[in-house]
Amino acid sequence: MIRNLVSLALIAIFFASCGGSTTKQADQEQADEIVQLSVDEFLADPAEYVGKEVTMRGLVVHVCKHGGKRMFIVGENQDDRLQIKAGDEVAAFPLEAEGSIVEINGIVDELRIDEAYLENWENELKADNPESEMKIHRGEEGHEHGEGDIQAEWNQIANYREQLVESGQEHLSFYSVICNSFVEIQEAETTEEIE
């Protein structure tokens, strides 16, 4: 009996030691002023908000079907979509959110694509690394059907290399928001006419 109780006590101690630290410091670091803006305002000058905490509303036009780790929202201009990535506090975005207005809160992130990035991506493709995270997700309709399509990735690399040369810049920038929280506001209240 004593052995049983001690064994259970050991398990309890084990848990107490595993869950110790708090996240207050991390929360405090993120407690800077939150910028509230529309998706269109953000997309007009995304570089302005890199590293900042933002809150914005948009229509969910796509949730990645494998895992739901990314979703894409649009504002008034439905052609420009913004990538939202699930952060530490968001397990996955529900597929049912497609077509709904959501309010998201998160930190703006910039992914810079330069020649070195493209070379690394090429090397990952040559090595056939299934864990490669180099691919750029743009959330196009039905893109999941092309998952694992190596040729499509080679084409994507060639395309970005071309864009890089045309831009005359050292890198291309892709912006996304690492989502801390999101809430479904309501079913989208329409848009009488499609823009």
Partner: protein, 185 residues
């Protein structure tokens, strides 16, 4: 001085950790298999497709009321959320729990419904570490697994113990990942 009966302690810890983490082992086992095969299936959702026929072409600048008329014809007007052109030929109507895709030139298309896959959606949700405290609990489970593995080696004595049969089977289990690493790492 009284000798510590470490084997009895080992058995007790192994047994109680085993009981305690039974559910976690099933959760991570099931979701592990599910996530290993993401290319072959979607473990989170079931897709139900149904063909629809509107019977006439559609104006790409269709209004909400016209979309609702279309949905009424196919008994789906209750589920309307929004609509948009996804490309020059396809109108997408967002519905509760799915979408309708209609070719605006032919008026034909399909409704794709999504339904959460029972059990797998829930265990995969947990596998993706939804909250920080869950990360701590799953870390605890990971440490628990290490303790279970090590303590398991010393449960039995004799011909089935770690010095005889156990040694052979444990060695095979160690060799498999080593061989894989030598071949592919």
């Amino acid at each position: 001085m009284k000798k510590i009966k470490w084997r009895k302690w080992n058995r007790a810890i192994h047994r109680d950790l085993g009981y305690f983490f039974f559910a976690m082992a099933l959760i991570y086992g099931l979701s592990g298999i599910a996530i290993n095969h993401l290319k072959d299936w979607n473990p989170n959702y079931i897709y139900i497709k149904k063909s629809i026929e509107i019977g006439h072409p559609i104006d790409p600048n269709i209004s909400k009321s016209e979309v609702l008329e279309i949905l009424k014809k196919i008994d789906e007007e209750e589920g309307y959320k929004d609509h948009r052109m996804t490309n020059p030929e396809t109108l997408r109507i967002f519905l509760n729990g799915g979408s309708a895709y209609i070719n605006i030139e032919t008026g034909s298309g399909n409704i794709e419904r999504v339904k959460r896959r029972p059990l797998f959606h829930a265990v995969n949700y947990l596998h993706y570490n939804p909250k920080k405290w869950w990360v701590w609990f799953s870390d605890a489970f990971a440490v628990g697994l290490i303790i279970l593995a090590v303590s398991g080696l010393f449960i039995l004595r004799g011909k089935n113990g770690i010095t005889r049969r156990g040694a052979i089977i444990t060695s095979i289990g160690i060799l498999i990942p080593i061989i894989f690493l030598l071949l592919y790492y």
